[in-house]
Symmetry: C2
């Protein structure tokens, strides 16, 4: 499956959440990750994130499609996603 | 088409960009909008945003699918998107 994940988490939890997301996905913009995952990888990612989030404060929005071919992407302005430049 | 838009713009341009995005889409998370648009609406949105962005600094990432039925969405933690609470 193709996954887009957008996070809005408290600053003190950002490093942990970022590390987990980067294990499974590619960073593409300040708070956005993308990638192709198996069902097992998706479960592992979300299970880990649930243990790391403050579920009453943090917010992660996830979009899934069966395949990246179903999604057209476009940049306006700067194309980001240089993984070396994160934090 | 179903559109997900994530913005990372300089603070001084955020109000303008938010106003434009809210004309066409629903706010769902800090920097994320979603919605169904016609091709004409999509062109109008992106044309307007191109005039508002500093294309050398700001960054907007857009995902499109033919239909929202092709996309599964999930929240981890807080569900946001109360449009009254934005800024």
């Amino acid at each position: 499956m193709f996954v887009v994940l957008v996070y809005d988490t408290a600053a003190e939890r950002n490093p942990l959440v970022l590390r987990t997301c980067r294990k499974y996905l590619h960073w593409v913009q300040r708070s956005v990750f993308e990638g192709e995952l198996s069902a097992a990888q998706y479960r592992a990612l979300t299970t880990t994130l649930r243990t790391e989030l403050d579920m009453g404060y943090d917010s992660i929005r996830i979009y899934r499609t069966r395949s990246p071919q179903l999604v057209d992407t476009e940049w306006l302005g700067q194309e980001m996603g240089n993984q070396d430049s994160i934090l």
